[in-house]
């Protein structure tokens, strides 16, 4: 089983919503579409589902061309950012609705709904109506509706975006388990890099209607093929600075920071991407470099400290474990691990070692 997009393009009027895209999603995988809002995640999902037709290109499912085939015949299910349930149905009837339409026997419906409800911790509220439930429970109901039928393709369009922090964390942890032994392709759209890392699987980074990179999630994170892909897959945003390399020694253009690198690339100017968590208030790794900055904003996020600082006329972001409170305007020292730098050439493509 596989889902393949072949040169899929979507235009509405003169606007291109999706530039020609090739993507092959394999069976039993979670595929994450990662990109900011308006990057084309939802459009791409709707094309995959058959809710929307591509302007050009083809969609192949199981080696069969399904372009233009109606969504009802495609055996897909979808979960939305908004909690979409039938308002007048009980939770039980909501979950059972996709089965009832396909004419499954009532005994089997009962058994399957019971199983899914238990999986999603809804057993106690099967007789309630959606508006009597909390947001988290409403979204669980919508998830149960998507899981109850054996879909070949399950699409989740930012399912956690409308939930509050705690419920989001809770459901996020359960999600990978829900898809574990299912014979299907899962596509999951999100704006949050951390969500992609948590879910694993494969990730496609998207920006402005283009798929920038597709591959194993960790691979895309560790080896972004371009600066754009790295930026999409970095929250808080990645720090970028220009450097020059000559032999083994590298330095910032203003010569303020110098280090040795073993990376085997030709001499010249490069751009270096430094993830915020790679700039810390403490030393990490063997190739630690010291930089000085002036604190712009210092904020806490859980047990992590986010410090924005300026160096010259550039703004930098650092993310350190632990709670550090810095005063705005203070000069402070921070440390970067040069082994974790990501090098990009003048075209902002990843520079490959060797």
């Amino acid at each position: 089983m596989s889902l393949e997009l072949k040169n899929v393009e979507k235009k509405i009027g003169l606007d291109t919503h999706i530039y020609p895209t090739n993507l092959k999603l394999e069976k039993n995988t979670i595929n994450i579409l990662l990109g900011p809002t308006l990057s084309g995640k939802t459009t791409l999902m709707q094309i995959m589902a058959g809710l929307d037709k591509p302007t050009n290109g083809e969609i192949w499912f199981n080696e069969k061309n399904v372009t233009g085939m109606k969504v009802q015949k495609r055996n897909v299910s979808m979960v939305y950012q908004q909690f979409i349930n039938y308002p007048n149905f009980t939770v039980y009837d909501n979950i059972a609705s996709p089965l009832k339409i396909t004419g499954v026997s009532s005994d089997e419906i009962k058994q399957r709904v019971g199983k899914v409800a238990e999986l999603l911790k809804l057993s106690a509220m099967l007789n309630k109506k959606p508006n009597e439930l909390s947001g988290g429970q409403q979204q669980r109901t919508a998830l149960a509706r998507a899981l109850v039928k054996d879909s070949d393709l399950i699409l989740l369009d930012e399912p956690l975006a409308n939930l509050d922090f705690k419920l989001r964390e809770e459901l996020r942890e359960e999600l990978p388990k829900l898809f574990e032994d299912r014979d299907c392709i899962v596509v999951y759209a999100t704006t949050e890099p951390s969500e992609a890392l948590l879910l694993g699987g494969n990730t496609a980074t998207l920006l402005e209607g283009k798929v920038i990179q597709y591959g194993k999630t960790l691979n895309v994170y560790n080896k972004p093929n371009s600066l754009v892909s790295a930026q999409v897959f970095s929250d808080p945003p990645m720090n970028i600075t220009k450097i020059k390399k000559s032999g083994e020694s590298c330095s910032f253009l203003d010569n303020s920071v110098n280090w040795k690198t073993k990376i085997n690339i030709k001499d010249g100017e490069y751009k270096v991407g430094i993830r915020p968590h790679n700039i810390t208030t403490y030393k990490e790794g063997n190739n630690s470099l010291e930089i000085k900055g002036k604190v712009l904003i210092s904020e806490l996020s859980g047990s992590e400290s986010l410090i924005h600082f300026t160096r010259g006329n550039l703004n930098w972001v650092s993310l350190s474990n632990g709670v550090f409170q810095k005063n705005v305007g203070d000069e402070m020292k921070l440390y970067m691990n040069a082994d974790e730098f990501i090098y990009f050439d003048e075209n902002e493509r990843l520079v490959i070692n060797g």
Partner: protein, 288 residues
């Protein structure tokens, strides 16, 4: 939480009390005044107790006009609500068609009541009106000034023309507020058009429809100007609805006592029906 008692808070409520008193309670009280007394002018009043109320409640004339009123209201609700929903469903959801449809729909609502009555009177006249003349030319024996059935038909048609738009606009607003994801979810389920209507659209429109039914009930139950101009309550008393009958009694016959009692009964019927209806419709609403 402990609440501090502060009687000065009443000062903030007083303006509302004064306003409501001037626009509702004081005028109403003059009616109450007449309803319990007999007067022959010169500011001479005699206490009559509940005599006028008893008289009205037992009067066949009141029963007849009340019956006509309920029948009329029931018929126009029965036509306007489904028709309004049906029109709203066929209206375009986006594009240039939306403003065009909305403007066209609001046209009848912008025409003053008495103009509507006069328009339809001329439109339906059997000898020179377009509607009346055409119907007669087609072989129907149509004359709304003479025949009871024709008078009812014309009055109902006029009200449907004048007010269905209100139901359309409210339903349309309700439909527009349904997120597209609901339709997509139904499409994925393979739900039929009818199922989408009954399982998604109707439940989502419940609140606006409640408002639409309430407004149309109140308006049609208190209808006066349009039938007054169109038929004058006739032929005979065939289209003399409650308010027409009331005005006849109060200003035609100058029976101020019974008319005042009738006004109050009329008012309580409207209040009661609205309250019962609203309570029933909102009974199963969750804590949204």
């Amino acid at each position: 939480m402990n609440k501090t008692i502060n009687q000065k808070a009443w000062f903030f409520v007083i303006p509302v009390f004064v306003l409501v008193a001037f626009n509702a309670i004081i005028p109403l009280m003059t009616v109450v005044n007449y309803a319990f007394q007999e007067t022959f002018g010169n500011n001479v009043f005699m206490w009559e107790g509940t005599r006028w109320f008893k008289q009205i409640m037992l009067s066949e004339r009141f029963h007849a006009s009340l019956g006509r009123q309920f029948l009329f209201t029931f018929i126009i609700l029965f036509i306007q609500i489904p028709l309004g929903i049906a029109i709203a469903l066929t209206m375009p959801k986006e594009g240039i068609g939306v403003p065009i449809c909305l403007v066209l729909m609001s046209m009848p609502l912008l025409i003053p009541w008495n103009v509507v009555g006069a328009m339809w009177n001329i439109f339906a006249l059997p000898d020179i009106g377009f509607l009346g003349h055409s119907l007669n030319a087609l072989g129907f024996d149509y004359n709304f000034t003479q025949q009871i059935g024709d008078a009812w038909f014309t009055t109902i048609l006029m009200d449907v023309w004048h007010w269905t738009s209100l139901v359309v606009l409210l339903s349309y607003a309700g439909l527009q507020s349904i997120q597209p994801a609901y339709y997509q979810a139904a499409e994925i389920d393979g739900a039929s058009r009818w199922a989408v209507f009954t399982k998604i659209e109707l439940p989502k429109m419940k609140k606006v429809l409640t408002i639409a039914i309430l407004l149309r009930f109140m308006d049609s139950f208190m209808i006066y100007t349009e039938p007054f101009v169109l038929t004058g309550g006739g032929p005979g008393n065939a289209t003399a609805f409650l308010s027409i009958d009331l005005v006849k009694m109060a200003l035609g016959q100058f029976d101020l006592g019974p008319a005042a009692a009738m006004s109050l009964i009329y008012f309580f019927i409207v209040l009661l029906v609205c309250w019962v209806f609203y309570t029933l419709m909102m009974r199963n609403e969750g804590n949204q």
